[in-house]
């Protein structure tokens, strides 16, 4: 294991994050605050409780997942796409660094940033609505697992993308719709029966449902299934990365 290389990549990526600290902190805090003002306070005051939880508190896990997914993907995809684009990737390719080590560095840094962001949103939410966390360890588990999985997913996108448009298209066209339809702002049980069935094909439903269970002990699908589904997606991402690296990273000509 080239531990020094993993540490170097990790530090490099974290430094990139902290250089744009305003953007990394201010924008999620701002957008979360807006969501709480609009959904939590304005609309939420007219909504009843969902599963015994006030609407403002209900949307917290969903909001965190929404940001977690987007940030994980955009961070990790940018992290590997940028050197490809600027040409500095030559150094990684010529270094004694295996695929696994590169992933640990890049994906590890992206996931770390996402987890920090999730915590930041959680803290921000405190200013707007009271909430409690029934299963804090499960909560942290979901947070880390989701951050890692979607950072890996973002890494794959960054490897695959050969222009800026491709970099944006999957987060924008696939992930954002899936998160909005995944029950961030409502319970699946509020949908018509047919749509409830269709929703079960949306992997994000399992993430949000499981995550919400760790807060309030209520969920759309059982937490066991959520965990299995999340792990399943992680394994799928690992398999894709494995395959990409066997065929030369899609980086070496």
């Amino acid at each position: 294991m080239n531990v020094h290389a993993i540490a170097a990549i990790y530090r490099f990526e974290m430094a990139r994050t902290f250089r744009t600290l305003t953007q990394s902190i201010a924008s999620p805090v701002l957008s979360t605050s807006l969501y709480f003002i609009v959904f939590g306070t304005a609309i939420g005051s007219r909504m009843g409780q969902i599963g015994g939880v006030s609407y403002g508190a209900f949307i917290i896990p969903g909001l965190i997942m929404l940001s977690l997914l987007n940030e994980s993907i955009s961070n990790a995809s940018f992290g590997i796409y940028l050197p490809k684009w600027s040409g500095t990737i030559y150094e990684l390719l010529s270094a004694p660094v295996s695929a696994i080590e590169a992933i640990l560095g890049y994906v590890g840094a992206a996931a770390t940033k996402s987890v920090l962001l999730g915590i930041l949103i959680l803290v921000t939410a405190r200013f707007f609505v009271p909430y409690h966390i029934e299963h804090p360890f499960v909560m942290v588990g979901f947070l880390v697992l989701t951050a890692a999985t979607f950072s890996l997913f973002g890494f794959i996108i960054g490897l695959w993308a050969d222009d800026f448009q491709k970099l944006q298209v999957i987060p924008l066209m696939v992930v954002t719709p899936l998160t909005f339809l995944g029950g961030a702002f409502y319970s699946i049980s509020m949908l018509p029966p047919l749509w409830q069935k269709i929703a079960l094909f949306n992997p994000v439903v399992y993430l949000i449902s499981g995550f919400r269970w760790s807060f309030y002990g209520v969920s759309d699908v059982s937490v066991g299934i959520s965990l299995v589904a999340t792990f399943g997606f992680l394994l799928a991402c690992v398999a894709v990365v494995w395959w990409i690296f066997r065929t030369g990273w899609k980086l070496r000509s």
Binding site: R11, F12, R16, T88, E91, S94, A95, R252
Partner: protein
């Protein structure tokens, strides 16, 4: 392979290496080349000859279509870790981390190549390249020549035993070029093998111990510089005539003479290797023909002439 064995053989060994890009373009055809430990090897060739491709294959950036390469005795594909640890690469393109500082970028390189932090070494490298007072500057604020130095510093950060310089002096001023060659010589003193490409042939002439010429993906020549210069070196004797000459007289047609367009200069080409230069005979016969000259000078052909004739020969 053991370290013992690794140190005995060539520092880089290229066997039957070919590369056909996905586009279908064959950039390298069956290259065989051994680089000797501690030498400065210059790779020459016109644009698109395959120099960067060959370097890319040795360094792990390009995947060979065929053949094997070892660096420091280790196969660059199956034993990539140990092979790459030995190598430092300064790429042809000026690709830098624009937002990083010089210091952090160079330290990053050292870590990436598996070496523990060593601020003293980084400082030495930066000072050696006159980058010390720029260590906290963001790379994007540096000039092109400075960026080139940063790339060299990055390549030296992990103390490589083999250094590749792909056109290091492109766009570099005279002073920096001079510094750079000083540095290359100093590196060689410490046992580092240097492989460089350049389009400035006089550089290869000055610096290299051996020269390889690559053209259209084929290695058409590998030779000690001195041998090469001797073997292919030709001298020219130029005579400035008293009176213009209409044409070379019939009687002198057997001699390797050419008449310049202005008809005032006669050039006689001869081999430095030959026993007889034939100059005495030439002067006698010119005298017989009544051709007087007011001046004469002789020139040795440069590597550049050799190179041009080689590449042209291969093209024909």
């Amino acid at each position: 392979m053991h370290a013992e064995a690794a140190h005995a053989g060539p520092v880089v060994s290229i066997k039957g290496v070919g590369k056909t890009y996905k586009s279908g373009h064959t950039a390298l055809k069956n290259i065989d080349l051994d680089i000797r430990r501690g030498e400065i090897f210059a790779l020459l060739g016109p644009n698109g000859a395959g120099k960067t491709t060959l370097i890319g294959i040795i360094c792990g950036i390009v995947r060979p279509t065929s053949g094997t390469v070892t660096a420091d005795g280790f196969d660059v594909l199956t034993d990539f870790r140990r092979a790459r640890e030995a190598i430092g690469l300064v790429p042809q393109e000026l690709s830098t981390d624009a937002f990083e500082t010089v210091w952090s970028s160079v330290s990053f390189s050292r870590g990436l190549f598996g070496k523990p932090r060593d601020n003293a070494h980084i400082e030495k490298v930066l000072r050696g390249l006159s980058l010390w007072d720029k260590k906290d500057a963001k790379i994007m604020t540096l000039s092109g020549g400075m960026k080139r130095r940063v790339l060299i510093a990055k390549a030296l950060a992990h103390e490589p035993r083999i250094l590749f310089l792909d056109e290091p002096t492109a766009g570099v001023d005279v002073e920096l070029r001079h510094d750079m060659w000083e540095m290359v010589r100093a590196l060689r003193e410490t046992g580092v093998t240097v492989i460089l490409t350049t389009h400035y042939i006089e550089e290869a002439e000055d610096m290299a111990d051996r020269i390889g010429v690559i053209n259209k993906g084929e290695l058409i020549l590998v030779e000690d510089k001195a041998t090469l210069m001797r073997k292919l070196g030709k001298k020219q004797l130029t005579l400035t005539l008293q009176a213009p000459l209409e044409a070379i007289p019939e009687a002198l047609a057997d001699l390797p003479l050419t008449l310049a367009d202005d008809r005032h200069c006669l050039t006689y080409t001869f081999d430095t290797q030959a026993e007889e230069t034939g100059i005495a005979a030439l002067l006698r016969r010119l005298n017989e023909q009544g051709i007087d000259f007011k001046d004469l000078k002789s020139e040795e052909s440069s590597l550049e002439d050799i190179f041009v004739s080689l590449v042209h020969g291969a093209r024909a």
